[in-house]
Amino acid sequence: MIDFEPSEEQQLIIDTVRGFAEAEIRQSGRDADEAGKLPEAAIAQAHELGLVSNSLPEAHGGGGERSAVTAALVAEELAWGDLAIALGTLSPSLLALPLADYGTAAQQAEWLPRFSGPSFVAASLAITEPRHDSNPFRPTTNARRDGADYLLSGAKCLVPWQDSDTPVLVTALDGDTPQAFLVARNAAGLSATPDRYMGIRALPTAQLTLEDVRVPADARLGGEAGCDLRAIVSRGRVGPASMAVGVARAALEGARDYAKQREAFGSPIATKQAIAFRLADMAIEIDGARLLAWEAAWKLDQGDDATREATMAYDQARRVSLAVTDGAVQVLGGHGYIRDYLPEMHLRNARGFACFEALTLV
């Protein structure tokens, strides 16, 4: 039966994450953006909620409750709090979920348990490449067999790069199929340069250069069987789509509250149709984008190929979040442009969804 209500359990998770986002992230998001640094305490606290480990296999210490829909709900709430902190908080998903889906027994045993340990462990996934025509389905980074090993060459960017001792998962073309490889951060030939972007300034990111980085054959995700990069990309479109919805929702709420309190020509500007209708359009588009993201997530949970749905959801969400955050800046007028208020940050963050594929996974 078609239904649009989260289960009781999901509602509980939504309420918990929303409460956390409101209390711990909303306030610190702006400071973190200015400082260009994630609030470690908040991320440690979020770890205790088990947002990623809940979905990992029980055999490796996780909660065994894998659901892309639930993950989408979590992603929206966290991003409503703050996008950069949300990405930092959920970065373990970037390695843990592909490992759970495709990792060999040895790969899982080596890396999965630590994501359910007592302290937060960050992770990195390198999909996007520093070129105008970067396409996650067709990496130009190359994996070349060399005896028992692979040699990886190429460049990646927009790689979340918090301190961690976990390997970075790098996608590369292996023959003519795109695959993913576990690469130690200190591997010879791998260099990471910190990068800064217009938005998500609090999230450490790196540009990676790989020059004949030698990894053993068993560093290929899934070993002989490999992985299904299509599905990883779909998961990497649904996650950011939900986060885009969260950012847009935060922007709309800010604009709404401002419009109700700001007076011009003798009454709150929200009582004027020019403003009120724009807010209405924003609300409609946000709900539509959210439902597309849910449908794509649900499709993933059915085990189906969700490439079409995930692409539509991501495409719509990034368009909507840009329009909504731009609308929020406009509603606040001059105040929307200055950094005392949040809309300018929301706008900078929202534009990033043009290239935030696989910055988080569901």
Partner: protein, 412 residues
Amino acid sequence: MAISFEATRSTHDAAAYYNEVAREQMRPISRKYDEAEHTLPREWVDWYWESGRKRPPSTAQLGEETDGMIQVCVQAEELCWGDAALYLRMPTPALGGSAVSAAGTPEQREKFLTAFRAEGGHPIWGAMAITEASAGSDAAAIQATAELDETTDEWVLNGTKIFCTAGEGASQAEGGFVVVWATVDRSAGRAGIKSFVVPAGTPGMKLVGCEKKLGIRASDTATLVLEDCRIPRDHLLGRAEVKKRDSKKTADKGFKGAMATFDASRPIVAAMAVGVGRAALDFVLEELERNGIVVRWDAGLHDLSAVERDLIEMQAELQAARLLTWRAARMLTLGKANSLEASMAKAKAGLAVTRITQQAVELLGPRGYSTQLLVEKWMRDAKINDIFEGTQQINQLIVARRILDYSSSVLR
């Protein structure tokens, strides 16, 4: 419950059945009745009355779950995928029926709706007459009057109604009816507005004619004049008394009650819109595929053609409209207040399919613009969805009031 996009067996069956109806009964005569405006589409109306009303039973087992109102939306989508104007011309109680169901007593429902389920007989229609020359979106400005004649126990209606969908059939074919909105007390404003059931053929209700329109030409959009039109006292839907102006909260309730019909009808109208939009989109996708153009969902931005980008956006927009529609319908099934969601769905669907059908014409070049194909018709048909049953702007207003928590006196 839990978030799910899995339609029930019953919904799948309904979709398949109505899609077949659309293909076999509607599409073949779509162009004919677009051109023969104001002609009764006899073969369609008769077929529907004799056969179409009785859908073969679903393969779903007794007691199996259904999607409730979502299934009704799926039905509307499929039939409007066939032809939106012929859908509006179906001999059913339509919006008049919604009003009787929502505001009528059990006796009134029995009296006015039974004939629509009767075997045999001739096709009949229901309709709703709200709009006047000077009262469109601002329904509270209605000028038509209803006066009670105590001596005969009759209401006497006077006024002129325009843009009444199915108004020709409903006013002329005996057994049908028109629900007319009129004021019993102009000084009371919206609190004075009531709705009345005027049976087809009632002396004093005159059909002036039907509009010539941009699209949905097979749908009879009538002007009706009420001239000392007398109907029995018990044809009033709801209560007769007018709440005083000073008791503002309750005064609004009668009018709001009448407006609540829209909470049920807007998701269906939104679903109709989605049907027209899908007709155009399906056609464009098939036509382009025949010419070797298929959306590559895994292509990067720089590999996608402009046309592929359009097609992706059109599909996403249509699906967003459909899901918003289903959400509003689902809430209706669950008995939840859905004004906000119904208006969101209607606003989104009306605009989305207006754009999608316009884009469809563009994507097929001169063929899209030609009357050899139906795409140009779908574009003309689609536009009405952004106007009737609450314009884009009225629905924006409703959404805005809800999200801002403003009353209609604060956000006008």
